[in-house]
């Protein structure tokens, strides 16, 4: 009994492993939002204060007529109004993010009030979590519409980061199509954060632009390419010198060259590599794990549930379960069976059988009481006989033999 109690106890603190991105992501968004506010304020400050000083000085030294002064003031006013408008938008955004975070915290908080894994409330909570994981998986694989519908049906829009992933997918798709504009714009927006990134996305994007220019190959473009390299690639000289030298070498090779590494530089596969790199950088920046959470949960869950019987040649999926009354094992069920094939099975240190095991002459083990009850319910079995639910063979009750499992 004691062991049963411990195994159903819910330790919420430990249980929140899969839910980290749920709070981290909006927080990263909030920080990014705050940074934008800071930036625009700084920019206006740097414009307005010196401008004001200048106007004042000009006015004192009377080299400026009143119209010019008024015009200068008007510009300042309109810039400040622009600032206000931008700040209002950002504040609106911030409020949205905070409310979303609040809902998420409440959702996680509710887990702390559930004492046991066997509780119905835990069941419900876990279902919401599954829906979240599903939506996350769908968004990552680009099934946006499905994710949107699912979130809507289940009322979990606040727990799903739809827009973030949609934007990310959009940029990645553009990269697949060979357009760098959106990705570079994104890099510009996140310049500060990108400095800490372990991937050098921006360099790779600039390099790709350079390659495309060289690919065209006419004189004019080649000059452009050199200018481009000077402007965007050389700042990375200290860290990416090998790549930059290669890029320079590229000028000497036509695009149908078979010489490595220039062949792979010209390769169109680089675009999908760039898309991947972008997604990885994006996820890193927003502290989103690089693989879908569903994979993490499933990988652990499949192994925890799997037994050697699940892919055994000798047992039929429905009949060798602990009790015929319980249903098919989830790993044996068609949905997950193939998926679990390569997984390790769970480790057990104790045998786990019904407590009155008997063996039939064909070597099958069942709980005696259950087997007798079941055979009685079957109209087709005579009194005093038992029917093996797996194979359908009928034996005499006396043929059941007690078996001892230590």
């Amino acid at each position: 009994m004691a062991s049963e109690l411990t195994s159903t106890k819910l330790n919420a603190e430990n249980h929140l492993l899969l839910d980290q991105p749920l709070l981290r992501l909006p927080h990263e968004l909030a920080r990014r939002n705050f940074k934008s506010v800071q930036r625009i304020v700084e920019r206006e400050k740097e414009y307005v204060l010196p401008a004001l000083k200048e106007v004042t000085n000009a006015s004192f030294s009377e080299i400026q007529n009143p119209e010019q002064t008024l015009a200068a003031l008007d510009t300042m006013i309109s810039r400040m109004q622009g600032l206000k408008r931008k700040m209002e938008n950002l504040q609106e955004e911030e409020k949205k993010i905070h409310l979303q975070s609040q809902k998420r915290i409440q959702h996680l908080e509710s887990l702390y009030n559930i004492p046991s894994l066997a509780d119905v409330k835990y069941d419900m909570w876990s279902r919401i979590r599954l829906d979240r994981l599903l939506a996350d998986h769908m968004l990552r694989s680009g099934h946006t519409e499905s994710a949107r519908q699912l979130a809507q049906e289940k009322g979990i829009e606040d727990l799903v980061d739809l827009n973030v992933f949609v934007q990310c997918q959009g940029i990645a798709e553009n990269l697949h199509r060979g357009e760098t504009k959106d990705a570079l714009q994104w890099c510009g927006e996140n310049k500060a954060a990108l400095k800490k990134s372990q991937y050098n996305l921006e360099f790779e994007l600039r390099l790709q632009q350079y390659i495309e220019m060289v690919r065209v190959g006419d004189k004019c473009k080649l000059i452009d390419a050199r200018m481009h390299a000077k402007k965007y690639l050389t700042p990375y000289l200290s860290t990416q010198s090998v790549e930059i030298h290669r890029a320079a070498g590229l000028l000497a090779f036509p695009q149908d060259t078979i010489v490595e590494p220039y062949r792979s530089l010209y390769s169109l596969d680089r675009w999908s590599h760039l898309a991947d790199l972008f997604i990885r950088t994006h996820h890193e920046l927003l502290s989103v794990p690089s693989r879908p959470l569903l994979h993490i949960a499933l990988q652990a869950g499949l192994s925890a549930l799997k037994t050697p019987s699940c892919h055994s040649a000798f047992s039929s999926p429905s009949a060798n379960s602990l009790s015929i009354a319980t249903s098919v094992c989830p790993i044996c069920s068609t949905e997950l069976n193939e998926l679990a094939r390569g997984m390790p099975y769970a480790h057990h240190t104790k045998s786990y059988l019904e407590n009155d095991p008997i063996v039939l002459p064909n070597g099958r083990i069942y709980g005696q009481q259950r087997l007798l009850d079941m055979s009685k319910k079957l109209g087709s079995v005579e009194a005093g006989k038992v029917k093996d639910p797996t194979t359908g063979e009928v034996f005499h009750e006396g043929e059941m033999k007690k078996v001892f499992i230590m």
Binding site: H15, L17, L23, H27, F34, V41, K45, L52, T56, F60, K84, M87, E94, K95, H98, I105, E109, L117, L130, H143, E145, Q149, L268, P289, H295, A297, L298, Q299, A300, G301, A304, L305, P308, S309, C310, S315, P317, N320, L322, T326, S327, C329, P330, I331, E335, E338, L339, G342, A346, H348, K350, S351, L353, E354, V359, G363, L378, G379, K401, V403
Partner: protein
């Protein structure tokens, strides 16, 4: 968690009371009034502008101050989050065994959606998947040819319309059962599949009919408790339907009929459990789902749900293991078995498990459990090791036997 909540509340309050926009507005007002003053009296321009310098600067400082406050709030919240998730990083992403099996996962998701009755979502999901595959197919012909083969294979794996129809039937029956208390579709279904259900040893048909009897007894559509008309209807129903159950469920049928005599005072009678069982409808719909899915060879609960939940329960243990292994630089030797026991609740055990008492290994197809004539069971490898082909003593009792006499068991 409490800390996170507190910090977030503080942050929320701060952002609501944020003054920065008001300061911006104040600056605009100042500039505007200065402008008006200069327009009215150009001669005062220099003075007005000079007076403007410090207030504008001050209000920019005020904006910055209020931003700083927000910043510190954000930082505190970051710290609270870090504390909450401290030394709980996500499990390593080194080997993702599932990423290569995306189509299997997608299939599982599609079936999960169908099973949950999310038919529109499932339809969208399937069509989006197909679109993606077409896209892939057209792209990969340009690149490599092996990819197209894989893409074609995927389309074949999508659940066929058959499964969709089956689940639609299931949800129709369940809806009737739960919302309209209408058992007839369920009973009809169970009659259609009588043989298969009987082979499983299922009581579903009887359970359904019994509930129908109880429902009629209580007055059918208008549940006003036991009435004469209700009893009459129940009796007629029993006469018409119950004769087929008599051979298999004689006791239960007797009970149901005997209850007739106790109708004025059912609550105090021994029949109370049958006639006023609050969870009866829930139980019946549950066992209906179970039987329905079992006949399709599927698990009654969504396997995806069970696996994800089990995964969430298992993750803390696995994570701990990972850190220990990293600290001690040990490798985990058996690839097909997890190195630790995962404490799952008993309801997550679906199979019988045999662990050999000698070698402590789980029985597998290659190493099946063997029963010696005395009735004790050990794994085949242990048996061979103990006996070396000769007569040997059972490790658990004085009995001696030859390995030839041991019998292979099937769990």
């Amino acid at each position: 968690m409490d800390l996170v909540q507190k910090e977030h509340e503080r942050l929320l309050k701060k952002s609501k009371g944020s003054q920065s926009i008001n300061h911006v507005q104040a600056t605009i007002d100042m500039l505007q009034s200065a402008r008006d003053a200069i327009a009215a009296d150009p001669s005062q321009a220099s003075i007005t502008l000079a007076k403007l310098q410090n207030p504008v600067k001050a209000s920019f400082d005020a904006i910055n101050d209020s931003l700083k406050e927000t910043h510190s709030g954000l930082n505190k919240y970051t710290k609270a989050l870090d504390k909450l998730f401290k030394d709980r990083p996500l499990p390593s992403t080194e080997h993702d065994a599932l990423s290569s099996q995306d189509h299997l996962i997608n299939r599982a998701i599609a079936m999960h959606l169908l099973r949950e009755g999310q038919f529109p979502v499932a339809a969208t999901f399937l069509s989006e998947m197909e679109q993606k595959e077409h896209l892939w197919a057209s792209q990969s012909t340009a690149l490599t040819h092996t990819d197209t083969a894989a893409a074609l294979l995927k389309i074949g794996d999508v659940p066929s319309t058959d499964i969709r129809n089956e689940f639609e039937t299931m949800h129709y029956i369940l809806r009737e059962l739960r919302e309209n208390n209408n058992l007839l579709p369920a009973i009809e279904w169970s009659r259609e599949h009588k043989d298969a259900l009987e082979a499983r040893g299922s009581n579903l048909e009887f359970e359904l009919c019994r509930l129908q009897y109880v429902w009629l007894f209580h007055g059918g559509q208008n549940q006003q408790g036991p009435s004469l008309a209700g009893r009459q209807a129940a009796l007629e129903y029993a006469r018409r339907e119950f004769h087929t159950f008599l051979s298999r469920y004689p006791r239960e049928v007797q009970q149901l009929m005997g209850a007739m005599a106790f109708f004025p005072n059912l609550q105090a009678s021994p029949y109370r459990a049958i006639f006023s069982n609050a969870s009866a409808w829930y139980d019946v719909s549950h066992s209906f789902t179970r039987e329905f899915c079992s006949l399709l060879g599927l698990c009654a609960e969504s396997p995806l749900y069970i696996a994800a939940t089990a995964g969430a329960i298992a993750l803390p243990t696995l994570l701990k293991l990972q850190t220990i292994m990293k600290a001690k630089r040990t490798e985990w030797t058996t690839q097909n078995e997890l190195p630790v026991e995962i404490p799952l609740p008993p309801s997550y055990l679906y199979h019988s498990i045999f662990v050999c008492p000698v070698s402590k290994e789980q029985a597998t197809d290659q190493n099946p459990p063997m029963m010696m004539p005395c009735g004790h069971v050990i794994a085949e490898e242990s048996l061979n090791r103990l006996s070396r082909g000769n007569r040997f003593k059972c490790p658990y009792c004085p009995n001696e036997s030859h390995p030839r006499e041991a019998k292979k068991l099937y769990l």
